[in-house]
Symmetry: C2
Subunit: 356 residues, 2 copies
């Protein structure tokens, strides 16, 4: 059976402001030392197991050109533009019917476009293990990340350690982002994994499950499916998609379906959730500074310093994030990195859209 992939690339990545903007969100930025953008790295990573012509990108219309520019090998018809964002379940449904239109059935990898993986070899091996499990029956497989610490910003997945199916374990429960105390408990328990948002299944399996657990979505997507390849395709998508139930695949399917499996992924995963991730994924100097561009540090340490051209003289700084872009400069204490959202809220409130 063919292996295909859906890369979800509709996110806004506000936490990487001012480099990420409405017009250029995180997945289209190069944040690593190698110069490749996040979405390019995502495609590079699976190139040994999925042909480019079988890679689908779900995004929105305003990013279609960016996708085409950054991923020239992807056929234009594989760039699926959601008229509006309706969360992950409709997005996955849309890709599923497109793949089903091309190949009656196929394996479908569902991957975020803005995460990083340290060992590509281990990652592809894990995906292949998942493909094996997903090829049987109507198993839905997800990848979980062994927690490194008691993170409260991720969902967790509780699994049964007994009688694995190949490398996969039966999922006991998907759980929402825990508080600190609960996260500590999960970490200590040893049978909880971080929810990575990566899924592997047959197109037929996910559609069957939608039929059962999300009939409204299933019926809506059939209307879209019937129009694929016809002159009405775009009109039907534009009319129908916004009415699909806005729901996550976790809540809509994974928490309700049976035959859910999880494979622990030991490939070094990073969701690159904020500027703080730079210290994990980029080289640092002798003072633990991450430096890019025209920066002159004097007695500064543990800083993230990015110039877009101007000389940045950083004097006596500690634990600061400095991001200079063409029209905006962020200077942010690391402990306040969540407050970048407040900057964006203020810019919206004062209608300074050009900076958003």
């Amino acid at each position: 059976m063919k292996t295909t992939a859906l890369i979800m690339a509709g996110g806004r990545g506000e936490r990487f402001w001012p480099r990420s903007r409405m017009s250029l969100p995180k997945q289209f930025l190069s944040l690593t030392d190698d110069g490749r953008t996040m979405i390019q790295l995502t495609i590079d990573r699976i190139s040994s197991i999925v042909d480019l012509e079988d890679v689908y990108i779900a995004t929105n219309t305003s990013y279609k050109e960016l996708v085409a520019e950054q991923l020239p090998g992807i056929p234009e018809e594989n760039i699926l533009c959601e008229p509006v964002g309706r969360n992950t379940a409709p997005c996955i449904a849309l890709a599923a019917v497109h793949i089903a239109h091309k190949y009656e059935d196929a394996i479908m990898l569902v991957l975020p476009s803005d995460h990083l993986v340290h060992s590509v070899e281990t990652f592809t091996q894990t995906l292949q293990d998942a493909v094996s499990v997903a090829s049987t029956g109507s198993n839905l497989v997800t990848l979980g990340i062994p927690p490194a610490y008691a993170e409260t910003g991720y969902g967790y997945i509780h699994y049964r350690q007994q009688s694995p199916l190949g490398k996969a374990y039966a999922v006991a429960q998907f759980v929402e982002k825990p508080n600190r105390e609960t996260a500590e408990k999960y970490l200590a328990a040893g049978d909880y994994l971080w929810n990575s948002g990566m899924f592997i299944w047959k197109v037929s399996s996910i559609l069957e499950n939608m039929h059962t657990h999300m009939p409204e979505l299933y019926n809506g997507i059939q209307v879209i499916r019937e129009a694929i390849g016809t002159p009405r395709e775009n009109a039907v998508l534009t009319e129908t998609f916004p009415n699909l139930p806005s729901e996550s695949i976790d809540y809509g399917i994974m928490e309700k379906a049976s035959d859910i499996y999880i494979i622990p992924g030991n490939f070094g995963w990073d969701d690159v959730g904020s500027w703080l991730a730079m210290e994990r994924i980029r080289q640092t100097d002798d003072n633990d500074n991450v430096i890019a561009g025209n920066v002159l540090p004097v007695n500064s340490k543990h800083c993230i310093l990015e110039s877009s051209g101007k000389l940045i003289a950083a004097v006596g700084l500690k634990d600061l994030i400095v991001i200079d872009t063409e029209d905006a400069i962020l200077i942010c204490d690391k402990e306040h990195s969540e407050d970048i959202k407040k900057v964006l809220a203020e810019l919206r409130a004062t209608k300074q859209d050009k900076y958003i």
Copy 2:
């Protein structure tokens, strides 16, 4: 007797980098809320007691155009360009012979071009008091500032509290920048004032004293004096000035002469010695931030934030100086403001002259 003034405007003001540059030092910057530059404010301040045609500006050739631009009322021949900087004694000697060339004798106010004064009325009254004292005999008068705290960055002047001459007191001793302990002692003693670098005397008095205490300077300056108004003026200046002894007026004259008087100046003086002065001389917001230009502060306090156009989002900052200019951005912890010199040293060492 005519009252004339010499404004000394040859300084580089490195501590205001990156706004001050070799090509635009501090005296030519507007650092206050009123939009006037430091040198313009200096001239404004004495306009009630000195005619513009009697104001002399000592600077160097590269700033001649800046002076002419910022002070259009000053006659071109009053802009005295030192071929090289030789400290304050030769600078004052040069102005003295120019004034002597115009008016046989005159009162001469000697003022820095980059200090601020809070009460112009009290300042001009103090200058007039000083003029009275300087008009008698060959008295040399200086203005001293009652110390507000035990500053270690200024020189001090010890004076005799008994038998004042008008508002002036006889100077007992000029003392160099003290250490902390000594500064505390001076502060407690009550008969020490900060050395403000402002002087008032007759041209004849200062030349007489140079004749006595700095004969080499006196003889050299006579050569220059004789050439004033002749076709050889510039050639003689260029040839002779660099050979004059490089000495401060404090060390060369004030520490050696008799008839030295000091008047305590209660006009609210500020030498605007570094970016830290901004909090004293500029308006602050509710969080004690000094803000100029396109700045969006979020949970930031006690900061100095200046944009030259780009949006600066300042998130969770405390006690930082952020100065954005066309080609360079300084981000500096307040406690490290002295390290700005290290930035300039590094720029020199790496031949990045365009930023200096």
